[in-house]
Symmetry: C2
Subunit: 220 residues, 2 copies
Amino acid sequence: MERHFDQELAKLKEELLRMASLADAAVANALKALVQRDNALAEQVHVGDDVIDKLDVEIDDRAIKLLALRQPTASDLRFITMAMTISGELERIADQAVNIAHRALELNKEPLLKPLIDIPRMAETARGMIREALDAFVYNQPDRARAVINRDNDVDNINRQLHRELTSFMIEDPHTITRCLSLMSVAHNLERIADHATNIAEEVIYICEGRDIRHQPTTP
Amino acid sequence: MERHFDQELAKLKEELLRMASLADAAVANALKALVQRDNALAEQVHVGDDVIDKLDVEIDDRAIKLLALRQPTASDLRFITMAMTISGELERIADQAVNIAHRALELNKEPLLKPLIDIPRMAETARGMIREALDAFVYNQPDRARAVINRDNDVDNINRQLHRELTSFMIEDPHTITRCLSLMSVAHNLERIADHATNIAEEVIYICEGRDIRHQPTTP
C-alpha cells in the first residue's frame, strides 16, 4: 500500500515536471516568434496552451484524490498541496507566454523598432529561474530555490531600465509609440514570469523546511 | 469532536472574509488616493498590506493543520484546499492595490491629465466582482459566481478602450506620455484585480459543484 502511494507521488511529480517543461518551451517559443518575426510559431504557442491548461486541471484532480483517499500527513501532505500551487504558477507562466506571442503578432506587422537586446536577456534570466526553481524542487535543495528568489531583482531592474528607455523613444518620436507600448508589455509579461518562478521557489523552501518565507524581506 | 471541527471551519471562513474585506478596502483606498490626489491615503494602502500578507500566511497554516489533524473528506477537503487558493488570490488583489497607490503618488506630482471617468468605473466593477465572488462563497451560490465570471469581459473591454484612448493622447501630445503610461498601468492593475476575482468565482463553483470549470469557455 505504502509502495503504491510512493508511486502515486512520483507520478504527480512527473506530471508537474512535464508541465514545467511545456511552460518553459512556451516562453522560449514566444520569444523566438518575437525575435525572428515568426508568426507561425506565435500561433503555435497559442494552440499549445490548451495542453498546459489540461495538465493543470489533471494535476489538481490527482492531488485532491490523493488527499481524500490517502489522508497523508506531514511532508507528503505539504508536497501534495504545494503541487497544486506550483501547477497554478506554471499555468500562469504559460498564459504570459501566450500574451507575448500575441504581442509578437502585432509587432511583426510593423518595421523593427530596434534590435532586441534587453528583452531576450530578461527572457533568458526568467527561463533560468523557472528551471532552477523546478530543479530545486526535484532535488529538494532550498538553497537553490533561495538563489532563484534573489535573481528576481535582476529581472525587475532590466524591466525598469527598459521602461525608461522606451519612454524616451516615445517622447523623441511619437511614431514609435504603439511599438514601444507592445515592447513594454512584453517586458512586463517577462517580469511576471519571473514573479511566478519566484513563487515556485518560495513553495519549494516551504516544502523543504516547513517554513513559510512569503512576505519576508529576502537576503541580498 | 465533529462540533469542534465545524467551529474550526467556521473560523477559517471568517478569516477569509476578513481578508476579503481588507483587500476590497485596499482597492477602494488606492482609487480614492488617485482620484482625490491624497498622498497620505496612498501611503496607508502600502502600510496596510502587511496585515493582509500576515493573514494569508495564517490562513494557509490553519488550513494545512486542519488537513493534517482532521483528515477531512469530500466537501470539507475541497473547502479547505480552496480556502488556501482564495487567500492567495486576495493577497494578489491587495498587491495590485499597492501598485495603484504607487502610481497615484507618481501622478499626484504632475498636473491632472483629464478627469478620471473610466478608471473609477473599472474599479467599481472590479470591487463588485470581489464582493460578489465572496458572497457566492459564503452563501454557496454557484450562479452568483457564474455572473462574476461573465462580468470579467466588461472590465477587459473598458481597459482596451482606455488603452486606445490614452495611446491617442500620447501621439497627439508627447508631454502626456509619462502620465498616460501611469494611467495605463493603473487600468492594467484593475484588470488583474478582476482576473483574481474571476479566479475566486471559479473556485467557488468548484467548491459548490465539485467540478473544475477553469480553462473552459464561459457562456454569455
